[in-house]
Amino acid sequence: MEASRMTSDPPPQQRGFDNGETPRKKRGVPEGLWIQCESCKSTVYRKQVEQNLYLCPDCSHHFIVPGRVRIQQLLDEDSFEEWFDNLTSKDPLGFVDSKPYKDRLVAEQKKTGLKDACIAGRGYMRGRPLVFALTDSSFIMGSMGSVVGEMLTRSVEEATRLKLPLVIVSGSGGGARMHEGILSLMQMGKVSAALGRYQSAGGLFISVLTNPTMGGVAASFASLGDITLAEPKALVGFAGPRVVRATCKIALPAGFQTSEFLLEHGFVDRIVPRPELRTEISRLIDYCGV
């Protein structure tokens, strides 16, 4: 029992958690010509991974895909019309941790080329028109603050108005964004309410869970799909594994909070490997006849 206690956690300063300074090896494909696969540990050529839908050529491990690349992967070429890219986060709390939130936003914008953690708009998937949005985990862990909440809500409302199917690909390890406090929490209610109206009006919402989707994002729009798909072995859950381990004081079961775990417990319709995602979504849309 002793070994499974909190002591098995490394001391906090070594965890490489988000304080804005430690390199983030876990997220995305790291810089450099060669990278090590997090799953099979083999050293692979980065270009080869990128050309292979960000899959490990040896074990098909799903690396995190940058949002813009995800759009290229899923939507028809040049069909994406981006919306709401004129929204930027403010700093309503005057929040400062290791650096001021204002500076963090600027740094993240520079690093990712995104305004915030969300990209939204309309496009075509194998010729089917749809509203498409995603959360990009490279921007403050894909967390949802006011801008992400507003962009998603507007996307849902537009999908309702245009009577189009809606696909949201979530990659949000950060859940609701702490730096905007209670306003982030309220975005969960806001987006969910919009989805309620959309779904009551007959809209089809396909939620695609990718690694990682946690906390307030999992506990709002990401879980509300009419159909919920997940990429293999994605981390998806409400409470972070460390918090769960600290509460339960026992070792977590193997595969805890993975896509496979969710499928087993009945919270995901299908696990879909990345190369098949586009075909599967298109086929599902056809079945629903929207």
Partner: protein
């Protein structure tokens, strides 16, 4: 009521109160004793005012978590003329962290839902300190749908450190259960009054928090994350919980400013735990006042109003150029 559990900043008040009760218990008080009793009462009231008017956010959290603070079950006993508890989620079990049932408040028939932390060890073991599992949120929703079917308004008292972060909770879909509550509560065609009475802990609180009126007691807080959790992530140690409490801006006045709550409900002098009855009576008046005004709205305008209430929340900058349609 004599507090059983004293917070550090309450100690001077309690000391004075002890002196006062000593004076008061003296037989055959002389005019001088009566005079000093009077003075001491004034002094105590002044001290309470000074201490509680200037609580910092971290002290507010401690008051919100005070062991003697009235909880949902206390309010049910003090406010409701009748309470018919309704158990179970029809899927897994009966979560004791969330209590639900029909109740009468004055002449209003309502569905009353309260998160309960437990007032003694036995209750706390059952309620897990107010941390609900998915079955709790499912139970709440099931009863709310029942209420909507028979046109009863809903009252939710929110008091939780957060939804339970455990293996079973994840296996049974904690995230899904909360998400569904958010969506469904936004569409229930009856008035919903939500009041944060102690801790408004993140998704666990919001899962009962989509209402037409959202109020918060003066010394309660409502936050995206616990101050300890925030401190652990941002400053790598729970020791910075006080700093996190300041940074998160989660007490009444800030929540009011952000449009997250409609009202900060005043607590009795020296906070709710010093006078359960007075607090209950204020709470009851608040609930009844809101039920009365909400019952005049049609279901349609109620739903539109609720939608817009949450739709408006958020702060961002919008420049003119956009690809939006």
């Amino acid at each position: 009521m004599k507090p059983q559990y004293v917070l550090p900043f309450e100690r001077p008040i309690v000391e004075l109160e002890e002196q006062l009760s000593k004076l008061e218990s003296q037989p055959g008080p002389t005019p001088t004793t009566l005079e000093s009793i009077r003075n001491m009462r004034v002094e105590i009231a002044k001290l309470k005012r000074d201490v509680f008017e200037n609580l910092n956010p971290w002290e507010t959290v401690q008051v919100a978590r005070h062991q003697d603070r009235p909880q949902a079950r206390d309010y049910i006993e003090l406010i409701c003329d009748e309470f018919i508890e309704l158990h179970g989620d029809r899927a897994f079990g009966d979560d004791r962290a969330i209590n639900a049932g029909f109740a009468k408040i004055d002449d209003c028939k309502v569905l009353f839902i309260g998160q309960h932390k437990g007032r003694n060890l036995k209750e706390r073991n059952e309620c897990l300190y107010g941390c609900a599992h998915p079955e709790g949120y499912r139970k709440a929703l099931l009863k709310m749908q029942l209420a909507a079917k028979f046109n009863l308004p809903i009252v939710c008292l929110i008091d939780t450190p957060g939804a339970y972060p455990g293996i079973g909770a994840e296996e049974r879909g904690q995230a899904y259960a909360i998400a569904v509550n958010l969506r469904e509560m936004s569409q229930l065609p009856v008035p919903i009054v939500c009041i944060v009475i102690g801790e408004g802990g993140s998704g666990g609180a919001l899962g009962l928090g989509i209402g037409d009126y959202v109020g918060i007691l003066q010394f309660a807080y409502y936050s995206v994350i616990s101050p300890e959790g925030c401190a652990g992530i941002m400053w790598k140690s729970v020791e910075f919980a006080s700093k996190a409490a300041h940074a998160l801006k989660f007490t009444g006045p800030d929540l009011l400013k952000f449009g997250v709550v409609d009202e900060v409900i005043p607590e009795p002098l020296g906070a709710a735990h010093r006078d359960h009855r007075a607090m209950a009576s204020t709470l009851k008046a608040t609930i009844v006042r809101n039920l009365r005004s909400l019952e005049t709205l049609s279901a349609e305008s109620l739903l539109e109003r609720r939608y817009q209430k949450f739709r408006r929340i958020g702060e961002f900058e919008e420049t003119l150029v956009s690809g939006a349609s």
